[in-house]
Amino acid sequence: MTILLTARGVSRRYAGRFVLEPCDLELRAGEAVALAGPNGAGKTTLLSILAGALEPTTGRVESSGRIGWAPQRPALYSKLTARENVELFARLEGVPALPTDLPDRPAATLSVGQRQRLNLALALLGSPGLLLLDEPTASLDPMRRAELWAHLEELRAGGGAVCFATQDFEEIRRADRVGRIDDGRLVFQ
């Protein structure tokens, strides 16, 4: 199977303490990998390093193809409307902007769920082959959750992959592999 992303010996230290111990990870085409673990275990840190949003203290990450990333806390400009956010990030990424059905008003005035949908829409810009999602369904209603999972199944079927952090057992069951992170240590079950 094609390897879409490889992480070797990646770790992260804050204030002299490892919040993520050195670990290895491969993400292959067509698979869904869940990262589970208690709050503050290091899931977000690992996903941020894999996405290239955070520099690892040690190790390196190699990838092929476009990677979409949805952080746990929606990363968007609250004074810009949903459409303007999508257009700006599409231009910055050099990809076409996708139409959005979100209300055309400043992101700060959107509901938590709507902001999370915008966060996911930004991750999907440019139709990435690999998605890194940090608790993507946390604020979504059941219908939107179903839509998201349908989209992720489509992605996998098309040779893409998804790695997501979650604390939901139902979602863990959807994964091909589950990596448990506890106190910064990643162990695959």
Binding site: Y14, S48, A51, G52, A53, L54, E55, I67, W69, P71, R73, P74, A75, L76, Y77, S78, K79, L80, E84, L88, F89, R91, L92, E93, P106, L122
Partner: protein
Amino acid sequence: MRPALLLLRKDLRVLRRSPFLLAVLLAYPLVIAGLVGLVASYANAKPRVALVDDDTLPSRITVGGRTFHVERTIDRVAQEVTLVRLEGEEAERQLRSGRIVALLRVPRGFVADLRSMARSPRLELETTRGGLSVRVTQQVQSLVYQLNRQLEDAYVEANLEYIDLLIEGGTGTFLGREFDVLGLKRAEALLEELPPGPRLDRIREFVRVASAALGATDDALRATANPIELVEADDEGRTWVLSAQAQSYALALTISFLALLLAAAALAAERDEGVLARLRRGLAGPGELVAAKTALAAAAAVALGLGIVLAFGAIIELGGVEGGQPWSRVPLLVLGLALAGAAFGGLGALVGALARDARTASLVAILGVLPIVFLGLVPREVAPAAASVSDAFPFAHALRFFTAALFDLDPLRATLREGAWLLALALLFCAAARSAVARLG
């Protein structure tokens, strides 16, 4: 640089959607500029000086036949200081505690000396040490000068009366004693009655020359009393509020606050909203991010600076104030505004990168800009060390650039020098900010 331009457009759009923030950013520096103006005018306020009257000045004094109302005369001449009548002991106490800045004593015998016109009466001055003492001494010297101006006319008149007495003859008084003078004219008449002779002719010639010479004494005496006379013309040119200096201060102050705060808050806001992490994924590098914030600060500085220049210019043109606005210098000024905005923008980006969040960044920017501004206002002659520290920040350079650009006869040299300083500081701060952004976790 495309990402930098996209981020700049986004920042301008965000700024336009924050009218309250925009209003505060515009109003705040103008309020500060006004307060600095008030402080400057306070520095010119009249210092309190105690008047200790050991000679018990009468309400009126007659000198050379002219009567002076003491209180009115003092009020008329004491325009640069506030004179407060105090007892000697109380005045000494207040001088030591700093409630008054000087003590002017009228010693015993002052009025007698004044009336005698034979000896200069003395006033004694004591001042506090340091800061204001030089200024107060100058102001009291000015007060004494004004008093002398009032008295010299009386003295001249009195002296002229004596000369008139010598020419015409009659009864006069000196030091309270009355005396009778024959006078040159009456002496000449008496000489006419005597039989002619060579010795008498010589005496007649002397009396004639002496009469003519003393007759011309009037103008000579007045000229001697005032070798140089200062004639004060009517006020012309700009008032202080519209002065070149005030305009330069207003520009430099406003740009400093606006550019520093804007760049610091804009960069820290990227972090607050979590967007910095998204941008760092190859969408915009640290250099492009800092460039966008610096460009935002420079653009805002040019826009606001031009607004201030146009407002000043309109008031000056409509008011018909002399020394009008030098419109042809505006392009040079725009260059200075952009450079000053960029230098403060670079510094603001550094603050924004070092601060943890937008609130901290704004607070640090405000706390930081005030000492930078006040350091820039300290004259180099007063505190060379403060001026050297100030050289490491853009405010003083911006102030000198604006002053030269707007009002120097030949602004090229000064604007080139200060422009080079501003450019160097902008590059330095941007490089430091870029490094700080790259290290953000």
